[in-house]
């Protein structure tokens, strides 16, 4: 792999950019790999990357039904934060956020991580208490957040109207090192690094069955023929239930649609990420100048990558009160993804009843921020058999009642 650098740009500029190579190879699948990962989204590719980087396991295939990063990795609002309430969540999301800080250097691929700061608005008395509690919890967990006043909110984000009649801004939970990153670049960067380590990324290859003998996974049936493996990782977000069905176990998940939209590009007016959970809306400005807006999920199960229109209306209507200037903006695009939501709104990174088969799912509406940490923990679990970061996120927590309840922090907006 040729490294990307300022020098490389200068070199290619002198020879009409004829020397750039493909970022990753597109091989046909071999008959056998040590590890097969299903799903070439952010989480799947990160898992493969850290298997190679941290454990030297490079005999890996990442299989993707569609195209690389074409699911939720390419459909989210790119927010990165780690201001969670519960210790296991704070640990894995903070690990993830800290990995994002150096990810561009690690991957030699610019993921455009922008730690511009994330604020979660408190617009009711309940939220003030809730976020103060989270700020105290974060202090104990070593996550850098603090509760700020409405005046500080206005200073950080002058376009905001903090005196709204229905939902005045009363303060905010502020994480200065949260921010955004370029979502596609995260998937592409991991893919390039994986390909460079000799891993095979196989796109347009659908898994149609999971082969097992005596409770041990043996391989997968795919649209490009059977592939054997010793270990299998299922990292497929909204379609996790279908894959679990093939493997012969059930997951405590429901799949629902989540939407986002962007406005026409405008001049820079907002250099922080703002989340308003009471009104189900969150917004940031992309480097292109578009206002990126996300809302709540649909309330019913759906595998269609589109959502109900009235959710967009509700989200935008709520945001207009807090950001009066967006009322004249035209919206350019809207899209949806399907997310897998668990009962306690926390993910599952776990062994499964099928030996050698591991699952990473349930990230619900907030998976993008977790990509590096999730991959790190999943790789550790698959390679070493256990992972401190993943320990609490096991599948059996629903049976024993050891929930990681993040429904307050994570149930609505991400």
């Amino acid at each position: 792999m040729k490294r990307y650098s300022a020098f490389a740009i200068a070199r290619e500029a002198l020879r009409f950019h004829s020397g750039w190579e493909r970022a990753w190879k597109s091989p046909e699948p071999r008959r056998r790999y040590e590890v097969v990962i299903i799903g070439a989204g952010g989480h799947g590719l990160a898992t493969a990357y850290y298997l190679g980087k941290n454990f030297g396991i490079t005999n890996v295939a990442v299989i993707e039904k569609g195209w690389l990063g074409g699911g939720n990795t390419g459909r989210n609002t790119t927010i990165i934060r780690s201001n969670y309430l519960q210790d296991p969540s704070a640990a894995i999301y903070e690990k993830s956020r800290s990995l994002y800080e150096t990810l561009s250097q690690d991957l030699n691929y610019n993921v455009m991580f922008s730690p511009r700061g994330v604020m979660m608005l408190a617009q009711t008395q309940h939220e003030i208490r809730g976020y103060q509690r989270t700020a105290h919890a974060n202090a104990l967990q070593g996550v850098d957040t603090r509760f700020i006043s409405a005046r500080e909110v206005k200073e950080l984000c002058p376009i905001m109207n903090i005196d709204g009649p229905r939902y005045p801004v009363l303060g905010a939970l502020w994480q200065p090192r949260g921010g955004t990153a370029r979502h596609d670049a995260v998937a592409w960067g991991y893919a390039r690094a994986c390909s460079d380590m000799g891993m095979d990324i196989i796109q347009k290859c659908e898994v149609t069955g999971i082969r097992q003998e005596e409770g041990q996974v043996r391989g997968v049936e795919t649209s490009k023929g059977p592939i054997d493996c010793s270990k299998l990782g299922i990292v497929v977000a909204g379609h996790s239930g279908r894959l679990a069905d093939m493997a012969g176990f059930r997951l405590p998940l429901e799949t629902v649609a989540l939407q986002a939209l962007v406005s026409e590009p405008i001049k820079p007016c907002m250099d922080v990420v703002v989340m308003a959970n009471t009104v189900h809306g969150y917004m940031s400005q992309s480097d292109k100048g578009e206002m990126v807006i996300g809302g709540g999920t649909d309330s019913f199960n759906s595998y269609t990558q589109r959502g109900s229109f009235h959710h967009i209306e509700e989200t935008v209507r709520a945001l207009v009160e807090t950001f009066p200037m967006i009322s004249r903006l035209k919206m350019l695009r809207q899209w949806g993804g399907i997310v897998d939501v668990t009962g306690d709104r926390s993910p599952i990174i776990s062994k499964t009843p099928l030996q050698g088969c591991f699952i990473n799912c349930g990230w619900g509406t907030g998976g993008f921020k977790a990509i590096p940490g999730s991959g790190w923990a999943m790789a550790e679990l698959m390679a070493a058999g256990q992972s401190t970061l993943a320990e609490e996120f096991s599948l059996d927590r629903f049976r024993v009642g050891k929930f990681i309840d993040e429904s307050v922090a994570a149930g609505v907006a991400h």
């Binding site: 405590p252 998940l253 199960n301």
Partner: protein, 109 residues
């Protein structure tokens, strides 16, 4: 937008009038049941890729709970029926078999 006909008041209600109530026909478990049974009852939701049976409430209409048979992939609605039943009625099942042969659901053999 999803529209469901309320089987009680007969109104073609659109989604904004309704509240989704999750999976229908769940087997309930009480005190003394095993951990597995409670896990099943509380968390192990059916998440079908296709035919699904759900509870809905006509919140901003007559206020009554009812059931709907729906497809989670095509968003097709197969019909709605009153809530006082432990399984989907035969006519709805027949209609589903007509358009989606081979469908299955966990509580139906």
């Amino acid at each position: 937008m999803l529209t469901l006909q309320c089987p009680y008041c007969g109104v073609q209600a659109d989604e904004t009038e309704l509240s989704a109530g999750g999976e229908a026909h769940i087997e309930r478990h009480g005190p003394g049941s095993s951990d597995e049974a409670f896990e099943e009852y509380l968390f192990a939701r059916e998440n079908p890729f296709g035919v699904h049976f759900e509870r809905w409430r006509h919140s901003y209409g007559c206020g009554k709970w009812f059931h709907a048979a729906r497809n989670t992939v095509t968003l097709e609605v197969y019909g709605t029926y009153p809530a006082q039943t432990t399984e989907p009625p035969a006519d709805i099942r027949k209609r589903i078999s007509g358009v989606a042969p081979g469908w299955t659901w966990r509580f139906l053999g």
